[in-house]
């Protein structure tokens, strides 16, 4: 059986079962999730952060598979449920990409699926994570700085929030202009970094409308990553399908973004773990992803470093990477902001869990990623360095490390410190870190060495 076609997916968005969104959420998603959690005996253990239990990982995968088969994806605009049979899901998993090449020339990089406890170096997708910046100059400076991080395989861009001093508005000409200018500034920054062929994966982060995304794509290449998002939980909007139709024709590499919420319809950590597998299938079948970019979040703290999210992230990743060859990247959100010691502890914990669980990395979004100019290359570089440093550490050891790191910050998740803006942590003219920032970064590298992470 061949992988189901995109045209067939579109048909099902018009012909699938008609249902209100409320019914999908409360009468399908929630009870079906609860059913498979019980059936496959999936239980969160608060003493464990990185489970080392292959049987549990495989049960989470089976639960996710059965759950997705029964639930499917809800198309918000047509109010139809798109479902697939077990055979269709199985064929799609077999046909899914096992490797993806991004970028051009000497900056071309290969993303492959890893496995738990793997000694394979991770793909590091580093950068701004779509955090907004206040000026064009800072945009270029940051792209250059991220591009100069040797271990960055691909880049995630900042987002422009103003054009000629005017705040960007969705569905307006300002948004279209911001999208076009973003990709131009991105190329300039990457050229200044000496990596003109380096792939980007969210260059038009400021664009929400179809026209702005198409406009922004003027400056993109098929070998860039084209990020396609979906809405929690297991929802798709027609504009996203429109984007997918467009990018498929361009031959672009699709990075399928998925974000289950702990505390939302998924419930607790067990639900997030199972939903992560369902999202992997959704990413392949609906979003037509060449790889999955997964970002489980705590609904209130907007972070992945809460111990319950870490457990779900870890076992969900193990379930996926043990049973699917399609590459997985995880983007962990930090509760604390840049240059805070807490942010470094959180980063070390989350990245260790991610790498030991068989995933690749996107880094790094801090303090919810929602404050303008609250970003910088040092914390990002640190995330990539940790990712490489913990390769080869097995899940058992990772669990011990992550547990000890969690103790350093978990009591502060509710009121995590905001950290420093770029202007507070770097020399805005030269882009160099201020001495205090450099000191904190070097100090924290020494601190985490005591936890068994030698950066």
């Amino acid at each position: 059986m061949s992988k189901i076609s995109f045209m067939e997916v579109i048909d099902r968005t018009f012909e699938g079962q008609y249902m209100s969104q409320e019914k999908f959420d409360l009468e399908v998603f929630v009870p079906e999730l609860s059913k498979v959690i019980n059936k496959y005996k999936i239980q969160y253990d608060p003493d464990i952060h990185v489970p080392n239990d292959d049987d549990l990982a495989d049960r989470v995968f089976q639960a996710g598979l059965e759950f997705y088969q029964n639930v499917g994806t809800y198309c918000v605009d047509t109010e139809r449920v798109v479902r697939f049979t077990e055979a269709e899901i199985s064929a799609a998993l077999k046909a899914a990409a096992a490797e993806v090449y991004f970028g051009e020339g000497k900056d071309r990089r290969r993303l492959v699926g890893r496995k738990p406890d793997s000694s394979l170096s991770p793909f590091c997708f580093l950068g701004a994570g779509g955090v907004s910046v206040s000026s064009d100059e800072l945009f270029i400076k940051l792209v250059q700085a991220y591009g100069e991080i040797d271990i960055a395989d691909s880049l995630t861009m900042p987002s422009m929030i103003q054009v000629n001093g005017r705040r960007v508005r969705p569905n307006s000409p300002l948004e279209v202009m911001a999208a076009i200018y973003s990709t131009r500034l991105m190329r300039e920054g990457l050229t200044r970094a000496g990596r003109p062929g380096m792939p980007t994966m969210n260059a038009i982060a400021c664009a929400s409308s179809d026209i702005a995304k198409v406009a922004g794509s003027i400056g993109l290449r098929p070998t860039d990553g084209w990020m396609m998002g979906s809405t929690a939980e297991l929802k798709i909007e027609t504009p996203r399908l429109n984007e997918i139709a467009y990018v498929r024709e361009l031959g672009g590499r699709i990075v399928a973004e998925t974000t289950p919420l702990l505390g939302g319809y998924c419930g607790g950590p067990e639900g997030v773990a199972v939903a992560s597998v369902a999202y992997h299938l959704h990413a392949i079948m609906i979003l037509r992803g060449d790889c999955q970019l997964h970002a489980p979040l705590h609904i209130k703290h907007v972070c992945a470093t809460d111990p319950r999210v870490l457990w779900a992230l870890s076992i969900g990743a193990q379930a996926i990477t043990r049973n699917s060859h399609n590459p997985l990247m995880i983007s962990p959100f930090m509760a604390a902001g840049p240059m805070e010691e807490m942010c470094f502890f959180e980063t070390a914990a989350a990245v260790t869990a991610i790498i030991a669980s068989g995933s690749n990395l996107e880094g790094l979004i801090t303090h919810g990623g929602t404050t303008t100019d609250l970003l910088g290359p040092l914390t990002t570089q640190f995330s990539g360095e940790v990712a490489h440093a913990v390769v080869g550490i097995d899940r058992k050891e990772a669990d011990s490390i992550v547990g000890r790191l969690c103790e350093k910050y978990k009591g502060n998740l509710e009121n995590a410190p905001k950290g420093k803006t770029y202007q507070q942590a770097y020399d805005v003219k030269t882009g160099k870190p201020l001495p205090e920032s450099l000191h904190t970064y070097e100090h924290m590298k020494k601190v985490i060495a005591d936890y068994g992470i030698s950066v």
Binding site: L26, R169, N171
Partner: protein
């Protein structure tokens, strides 16, 4: 059965998400001659508040929060005709109009605020997502709202909160309403910059601010 036992039953039914038990306890309250408002305020409401507090600490999750709201509603549906029969005016904490601003389709955060406001006695008009400024204005005027809640989950859609406030000012109705803003990227600084009356970091905080505002409004 004494009133205190019935009140406990109402509370426990909400906490246990047991709609059948809540409806039965509401009927018992009527049969026992209990003031229906007392059944709501001293029986159902404390149950809802316990679930709300648990959700705030994520000791329970969104499905339980929604479930408790449904149980609350089912019991209130039994009690409301009795309130009408007694000629007592329907109890509301206030009238709120709420929506996610233009260009933004995120709904979960806004939906949680809607749920919590409803269970704290507010009459809530949920305008949905991607709501134009004019729709907020029309709804506020038509429903004689006390509070207008503006949700935005993206940096790029935050300016739409400002658009709503500007429109209210231009139309000369700004001072009639308490304009509240929220959403992940929203901060107190942003609320101050655009002239909002209040910013809430969490849904629970938003409800608390709304209740405080209404209690002050009633006393003045």
């Amino acid at each position: 059965m004494g009133e205190s036992e019935i009140l406990v039953k109402l509370k426990q039914a909400v906490i246990g998400l047991n709609q059948e038990a809540a409806v039965a306890a509401a009927k018992e309250a009527i049969a026992a001659g209990m003031a229906p408002l007392k059944a709501i305020e001293e029986g159902l409401q404390p149950g809802v508040e316990i679930i709300g507090d648990k959700f705030d600490k994520l000791e329970c999750f969104l499905p339980e929060l929604i479930g408790s709201a449904k149980v609350f509603r089912a019991a209130v549906d039994v009690l409301e005709p009795e309130i009408a029969k007694l000629g007592v005016s329907k109890h509301t904490s206030g009238i709120a109009v709420i929506g996610t601003v233009k260009g933004d389709i995120h709904k979960i955060g806004k939906d949680i605020v809607v749920l919590l406001l409803k269970t704290r006695g507010f009459e809530v008009h949920d305008l949905g997502e991607d709501v134009p400024a004019s729709e907020f204005l029309n709804a506020a005027e038509n429903f004689n709202a006390d509070i207008v809640g503006l949700s935005a989950l993206l940096n790029t859609t935050m300016p739409a909160q400002q658009d709503v406030i500007n429109l209210f000012k231009e139309q000369g109705v700004r001072e009639k309403y308490k304009l509240m803003v929220g959403g992940a990227p929203v901060t107190q600084e942003w609320a101050d910059e655009i002239g909002a009356d209040a910013y809430a970091k969490t849904a629970e905080e938003g409800v608390s601010i709304a209740l405080t505002y209404m209690s002050k409004k009633v006393t003045t």
